[in-house]
C-alpha cells in the first residue's frame, strides 16, 4: 500500500502520465471535432499512422521539426477531406468509409516509407523534440516538473484543447459546427452550408489526429516503425464517448488513461513477481472501460451523429 502511495506522489509518475496522454489528447480532440459535426471518423488509426510517417519523413529529409508537424497536419487534412467527401455529400456509411480509410492510410504509409527507404539495417533516426522547461512555471512544486517540463508538442496538445473549447462554445463558427451535428436541417435554415462545415470539421479534426500520430515519431521517439500507433487511435474513439463530446473532459479522459498506463508499469515492478504481467498491461484498458461505463450513462451524443444529411429531404 505504501509503495502505491509512493508511486502516486512521485513527480515522474505524473510527468509520465501526461507524456503518455499527449498523443491521445490530440487524437481524442480530433475525433471530437469530427463527431461534433456529426461525422464518425474511424479513419483515425490510419490517419495517426500517416501523420507519424509523414511528419517524421519530412524531418528526416531535412525539414525542421515544426515544418514536419505542419506536413503531418496537412496529410491528415487531405485524408480527412477524402473521408468527408465520401461521408458528407455522398452520404456513404461512415463506418465502412472510416475503416477503409484506416486500411488505406496505414498501408500507404508503410508503402511510402519502404519506397523511400528500401533497405535500412536499423531504423533511421531524427533529432526529435526535446523537453522544454517553461521559465517560472517549471519551478512550481510537483506541478512544475510534471506539466511544464514536457516537449513542445505536449504544450501544443494542451493549447489545442483550450482553442477547440473556445471555438466550439464561444464563436459563431463553433455554433455552426455544433448545430450541423445536432440538427443539420435547422442549421441549413439559418443559412449555414452543412456540407462545407461538416467537411471542414472533419479536415481540421483529422489534422489534429495526424499531429497526435506525429507525436509518437517526433517527440515520444525519434524513428518510424511499422505498427507503432498500436491501437492508440481506437482508444481515442472510446475516449470521445468518455468525454461526452466535451474538450475539457477529453483532456481528463486522455490524462486518466495515461495515468493508468504510467501506474501500470510502475506497479509491475512492485508486485510483478506474483501476478502475470498481462494483468498489468490490461489494467489501463480495464479501468478505462469501468470509467466509460460510469461516465457514458449521462452522455449526450450529437443528435445527428452518423446520420448523413441530404439537402431538401424532409
Amino acid at each position: 500500500m505504501n509503495e502505491i502511495l509512493e508511486i502516486l506522489l512521485s513527480v515522474s509518475f505524473w510527468a509520465a502520465a501526461l507524456r503518455i496522454a499527449s498523443p491521445l489528447i490530440l487524437g481524442t480532440l480530433g475525433e471530437l471535432v469530427c463527431e461534433r459535426a456529426g461525422v464518425l471518423n474511424l479513419g483515425i488509426e490510419g490517419i495517426m499512422t500517416a501523420g507519424a510517417m509523414a511528419g517524421w519523413m519530412a524531418v528526416y529529409q531535412g525539414a525542421d521539426l515544426w515544418t514536419g508537424v505542419a506536413v503531418a497536419a496537412a496529410i491528415g487534412m487531405i485524408l480527412g477531406f477524402i473521408h468527408g467527401v465520401f461521408t458528407v455529400p455522398l452520404g456513404l456509411s461512415q463506418h465502412v468509409t472510416g475503416l477503409g480509410l484506416t486500411l488505406l492510410a496505414t498501408s500507404l504509409s508503410y508503402f511510402t516509407y519502404r519506397m523511400i527507404l528500401p533497405d535500412v539495417p536499423s531504423p533511421p533516426r531524427i533529432e526529435a523534440f526535446q523537453p522544454l522547461a517553461i521559465p517560472y512555471l517549471s519551478d512550481l512544486p510537483i506541478i512544475g516538473p510534471a506539466i511544464f517540463e514536457q516537449t513542445p508538442l505536449t504544450y501544443f496538445a494542451l493549447i489545442a484543447v483550450a482553442v477547440v473549447a473556445f471555438v466550439l462554445y464561444k464563436t459563431p463558427l463553433g455554433l455552426a459546427v455544433r448545430s450541423v451535428g445536432e440538427n443539420p436541417a435547422a442549421a441549413e435554415a439559418q443559412g449555414i452550408d452543412v456540407y462545407a462545415v461538416r467537411i471542414g470539421a472533419v479536415m481540421v479534426g483529422s489534422g489534429l489526429m495526424a499531429v497526435g500520430g506525429a507525436f509518437l515519431t517526433m517527440s515520444a521517439f525519434n524513428a518510424f516503425f511499422f505498427e507503432m500507433v498500436a491501437g492508440r487511435g481506437w482508444i481515442c474513439i472510446a475516449l470521445v464517448v468518455f468525454a461526452s463530446w466535451r474538450p475539457g473532459k477529453a483532456l481528463l479522459g486522455a490524462f486518466l488513461f495515461g495515468a493508468f498506463d504510467a501506474f501500470q508499469v510502475r506497479l509491475q515492478q512492485v508486485v510483478g513477481g506474483d501476478i502475470p504481467y498481462q494483468i498489468f498491461l490490461m489494467l489501463p484498458y480495464l479501468l478505462s472501460i469501468l470509467a466509460l461505463i460510469v461516465m457514458s450513462r449521462r452522455a449526450a451524443y450529437p443528435k445527428a451523429l452518423m446520420i448523413p444529411y441530404r439537402k431538401g429531404e424532409r
Binding site: F13, R19, R114, A220, F225, Q269, F280, L281
Partner: protein, 333 residues
Amino acid sequence: MTQGLFRKGLTALALAGAVVVAAITGVQPAAAEKIKVAAIYTLPVEQQWISRIHKALNTAAERGDIEYVYSENVANTDYERVMREYSEAGQNLVVGEVFAVERAARAVAKDYPKTAYLMGSSFGPSGDNFSVFDNWIHEPSYLTGMIAGSLSKSGVIGMVGGYPIPEVNRLMHAFMDGVREVKPDTKFLVSFIGSWYDPPKAKEAAFAMMDTGADIMYAERYGVSDAAKERGVMAIGNVIDTQNEYPGTVVASALWHMEPTIDKAIEAVKSGSYEAADYGSYSFMSQGGGSLAPIDPKLVDEKTLAAVKIREQEIRDGLFRVNVNDSEPKSSK
C-alpha cells in the same frame, strides 16, 4: 517490399528458364547453379532479430551463393500462405520464424518434401525437411551480465522485454546469472510491454525502472537505450551492436551472428544432404554465432575486463557452460 516483389518476379522468370534448361540437358539445377532462398519475416527487416537473418542472407547473396528474395511484415495469419507460395515457386530453401505458427508451418513443410525449411522456432526439428534455429546467444549475454554487475552502483538493474517467450527468457536469465557472479545480491526489475515494436512504451517502462533506482538497463527492445541515454544511465545491448548509436550509454552488447547457421544450411542444400536438424548450436560462441561487441575500455575497469576475457575463453573451450533457463523471469522481491 516492392523490391522483394520485383525480385520475386525475376525469380519466377529465372525459375522458368532453369526448368527449361533442366528439361533439355537433364542436369540437377541445384547442383549446377545458385540455390534459391526465400525468407518470410513477420516484422520489417529493420527489427533487431530479423535484421541479423537478413544480413546473413544478403551476405550469401553478394557472395554469389544464393538468389535471395524475401517478404517482410507478413501477418502470422498469412504466414502459411506465403510459405506455400514460395514452396510452389520452387524455392530450394525457405527461411523464417514460426514462433506463432509452429504447428501450421510444420504441416506446410510436410506437403513440400523437396523444399528445405530453416525456421526460427521454440521447438525441435520435425519431418525430413524442417530444421530449426534460434538466437542462442546466452553465452555472450552472460558475459554482458558480468560487465553490468561490475558497473551497477545502486545494485538495481532494469530489464524491459517484449514477450516472455523462451528465446527472450533464456537470454535474460543468462544475463542475470552473469550479474550475480559479480554481484550476488543485485535486485532485478523485469517488465514486459506485450509488443515487439512499441518504442514509446518500452521507453516509459525503462523510465519507470530508473525512477525506482535502476542504474543499468538491459535493452531487449528499441526505446530502452534511448530512455537510458536521456537519463545518463548505462545500457546493455542485445542481438545488434548499437554502441555507435549510443556512445557512452551502451557499454556492452551480446551480438548474434546468423552467418554460420545460414552458411551451413546453404551448404547442406547444395550438396543434397539437407535434413531436419537443430541448427541452434551454430549460434554458440564456439561456432562464431554469438559474440561480445567490443567494450569501451574507458567505461569498464581492467579487473572486470580480465575476468570477462577468462570466462569467454572458458566458454569457447567448453570449460564453462552457461545455464539455459526458459522460464519467465520475474522481478526480485
